[in-house]
Symmetry: D2
Subunit: 372 residues, 4 copies
């Protein structure tokens, strides 16, 4: 009953087995191993992007930071959602990698940005004046930090707006697999065909030990990215152990099956919680959701061994019924992973005292101060 | 009739004369001239801060950037108002000088921050977690970018909140002289006694050619500041020409007389505009104010040779009367300087077509996208 | 017959097995797993440093960059050997992590620094003047990039000099295990007791997949280090996979046995080469050495499948005998790893055409432009 | 008898008068004043570079740092002489402005670089490999920190080498006027026609209060430079006071007359010292020279009120005659300025006890640790 984060799970057996297989013999270091080449070929095929360049790193923060620094200048703004991971949970990593770019924040339900609001904000920010931060990059998280999934049409609109205003587009795809599994779009449609310039495709949260593929759809950015990766300490000498993880994860659609399992468990959780009258305050389109528990519910779950991040709910009457949830209510984030099983969800639901049904409030702002 | 900015004026004759006087003979460079020593002594006396260290630079952006970098860490947040000069008009200079600190934004009428809101924001931001930006600095602008003046009590409350949360306090005093002249507080009461750790005292906008004194009330910060100033290219070899400006400006209260003149002209402008029914949408407590002009008023003023920054007014019916100002209305910033004379103001007012009186709306948000 | 680098080997089976064992179940992320705690306890015991703090990262460049940034200021100098990895092979990573510190270079045979020369250089560099880079850190590589091993006495002298001049001491211990195995010193004697402030203990080149322990002997540096690691993207969510590697590598002295094997193979290589008259131009005290091959030797080895980094020898008569080695001679770096076996060495030696014996020249400067 | 530095002088009366003239009335800020436009036009004409862009700053360190950051990348090397001002006297400013570029050092008598040595060093450094610093910029100081003047032919050779290796060329022209006055070259021949990409033309040391013109011969670099200048706090609001200085300094060849005067006084000093047997150990081609004084000479000069920077001479027998200068001998730097008069020089020479003539040793390395 661990729903703290998808990073609390270990690695999928196939990924571990690939490590062992890759361990045989000697290989050239720093990405000159055959496996790294195969991963690039594989991702070009999966994303229908024969010119794309692919580089592997071990953490999502590294992938995001290096990608953003490649797209934005030190004197520019990176536009993102107020609770985007790059803003809220990376201890100024984008500022560090970019040499001092500014993160400019927008709001939007479900941690999603809206193209019209982006356009208005960019128009108001002006451009061209030497006194102001210049247009740099737009960063979208797919799926979002609140479990929403951008549609291809939404991404297209945001990317078109960004490009028209001189920004390039970064996608934090820590949970891109979950977003893809939750839609019927192709990888290409959800990324470069919609205008994404760099996608950070995360495997870590979905079955790897620590592996992220940064896909540069514009190959002209590759050399700068390589230099940034090296001087950031993110070029692995024994690269075979990153490429083996990624290759195994992508092979035969494993990545999408694992993501689909995480999503299914998220949905099962949502369904069960709704049935028990627990207000779900986030979109719940992928493998994570935010809910409001009463103090009694929270205590019972903790006692039963359930684990998740929770914050005191500032206004326990936020759902239209003053005092509906009562003192001690919490906002909780629940994350299912590829390793979550139906019985884990069911045990969690069984441990939950049923409250009187309350109206759901999907537009309600979830608490953002959960662990990343 | 130039009301674009107080930086459109030249230098006061006494300041220019001091340059000529300082030009005689040879002096030691880099601040080892006698004048620099006298300026430090003078400011210690004026601010009743015998331990304070004083360093001169030539621009406000340099003063702010160096001061903030001395107070905040690269992995921390600098909290300021959304339209603070350091956020809106310095092209990421604080991020540059600090090595990538984040500017975290707050709102508030008149470009003023509120202690309770600051406290709530800091509480929500959390502290201590390695994933998040750490507490760094609070930056207050005195007088604010919208012409408001913090009271000593307000500064005390803000500084106390900041210190309690682990932030140090920076004051952007580009118009500190104006703020002081508009109050009956002492320099000490409005700065270190209220909790300000570093004050950037600007002379440039108020009669100098280009001279700002950075006053470190905590002398332990001095050496780091000196190193930052040097490696930022802000240590002048012929420092005598900065110290001469500052010494002349401070001598015999000239700085306060010049600031008082600018304030008086701002007040005369405000009074005249109010009498003519022009909505003043900012506090107008120092030497600058924001107003709304109708298209006809704006055109007439431009035709008469008046100059100021103006932005199209998004909603010309914002004053409670739908459509009150009509299409083409603008939000204008008017800044009086030490050089502004009563006849300049009166000519401006004379050029203004009188509109029907409208209710004033001091809480209305002024447009921020003016030139700095 | 792969002698390109010790990073061409895979991971030791015990390390891989530990990954599999660590994969079971859920763990807390970001270093809150039990294994990370055990690694810290283990290293405190091994290094007899009960107060030390230990942090894991995945690459040596990250370990070095983060450690140096914690010890040096942006306006300071980091003193190191001209061919130190941090200078020659990290694409400005120390400059990046430190926010612009300068690397100041010293020479010395075998890539070793000398305390007296360091002292003279520091004296000449001056200190205290605001115009100059300030004293920052001393960085020693143990074993050096040319296969020399500092004695404890040498480290003590260097660290004492550094501390007396206001520098803190960093040890790049990518091959610390090899250095230790080559000496009869204890880990404590070779590190903090000799004056090392931060040791970067590398496991990657000696049997891990990618794991380095940064040991802060001064615990007061820990929090800054943690923040730097996070914002550098080097904090792993699934930290258990770093801690498992490190724990298995340290367990029951495995690390020293592996290092001893690498050293033994280096010695066997050196002995065989000397017997065949090949000039060895580096100290050959650990697991790597630099030699000069004639064109015929180089060609024969390549043809036999031997692999190593080689550079054209600028002056093939450098050994006192003009033209001794003839045109086409190369300077080659040969690195043995924990995985190298005696038969690998012997096959290499068998493939080598015997040349007329030449006087050895251990003081000769080896070519530095090998791959890292 | 002040020969400490050319920055110990004040401003030329014509420059001061221009400040007063520029003070009249209102002007647009930040370089939109007419004077700034005229300076650009004037420098385009003087340098026969109709496309060049010109930006003014107030210090040489700012000019150099901003220029170098525009030419070099954070992951590249800036090649310069070991005692170049940018390396020795700017407290890591180039590293700061560039975001962590590395300064790679070369030697050469008179603080001059040699094209063949540069080429060899660049060849040895390699290029293209991701592990190494990339080719960034070459920085030449004209005249050098030891008073040598590059010929046009030398600059051409250096710039050609640099460009062929992928480096762009920066010229630190703090004393460019002195170099020009010492040669019969045109400004164009000594800069862009010889391959210089950015020239930092210093007026501060030669008659201004604080004014440097950065001349970008490639206008494509202009916008990035402008943004860097702004975010570095080096964009002056009251720019008229920089442009007025520069305009007056350039008008009717004043700059060259002032530089010629400084050079003439340097030559008078050299001649007199030679006649008195004082060893001159630097080229003495512009307005500064390094000499060796005996203890008695040094004491007598100090007693007479002469001022200059001096360092203990490590080996007072360096001139071929063991013990020639005796204990307490010093290496002294003497700098004449535009304000130095013949009688100042003569008084200095008169105060000097005549020593037995010693052989001059122009190739001897002058002490570098003088003040900047």
């Amino acid at each position: 009953m661990i729903f703290t984060s998808d990073n609390a799970s270990g690695a999928h057996p196939a990924v571990l087995a690939a490590l062992a297989a890759a361990n045989e013999g000697y290989t050239m270091p720093y990405g000159a191993d055959d496996g790294t080449g195969r991963v690039e070929a594989l991702l070009r095929e999966i994303f229908e992007a024969p010119e794309a360049r692919v580089f592997l790193v071990a953490t999502g923060t590294a992938a995001n930071g290096l990608a953003l620094a490649t797209l934005a200048q030190p004197w520019s703004s990176i536009w993102c959602h107020r609770i985007a991971h790059i803003e809220a949970d990376e201890c100024n990593a984008p500022e560090f990698f970019s040499g001092g770019a500014k993160l400019s924040l927008l709001d939007g339900p479900g941690a999603k940005l809206d193209a019209a609001e982006l356009d208005a904000a960019l128009a108001a920010a002006g451009a061209g004046g030497v006194h102001h931060a210049q247009p740099g990059a737009l960063s979208l998280t797919q799926a979002t930090e609140q479990g929403a999934v951008y549609t291809v049409t939404e991404i297209e609109a945001l990317a078109e707006t960004a490009h028209a205003r001189g920004l390039r587009v970064h996608m934090d795809g820590t949970r891109f697999a979950n977003a893809l599994a939750a839609s019927n779009a192709t990888p290409a449609a959800m990324s470069h065909r919609a205008g994404v310039d760099i996608l950070c495709l995360g495997a870590t949260k979905c079955g790897a030990l620590g592996a992220e593929a940064v896909i540069l759809f514009d190959p002209a950015l590759a050399w700068e990215f390589e230099l940034r990766r090296k001087r950031g300490g993110h070029l692995f000498s024994k690269m075979r152990f990153l490429s083996a993880q990624m290759e195994a994860w992508l092979a035969a659609g494993l990545w999408l099956r694992l993501a689909a399992q995480a999503n299914a468990m998220g949905a099962r959780l949502a369904e069960g919680l709704r049935a028990r009258g627990v207000p779900i305050v986030s979109p719940a389109e992928a493998n994570l959701l935010f809910v409001h528990f009463t103090a009694a519910q929270h205590a019972a779950l903790q006692a039963a061994g359930a684990r998740y991040y929770a914050d005191p709910l500032q206004d326990p009457g936020t759902l239209g019924t003053p005092g509906a949830l009562g003192a001690g209510a919490v906002s909780a984030r629940l994350v299912a992973s590829y390793a979550t099983q139906a019985q884990d969800v069911d045990r969690f639901l069984d441990a939950l005292p049923v409250s009187a049904p309350l109206p759901n409030a999907p537009g309600l702002q979830a608490s953002a101060s959960v662990a990343p």
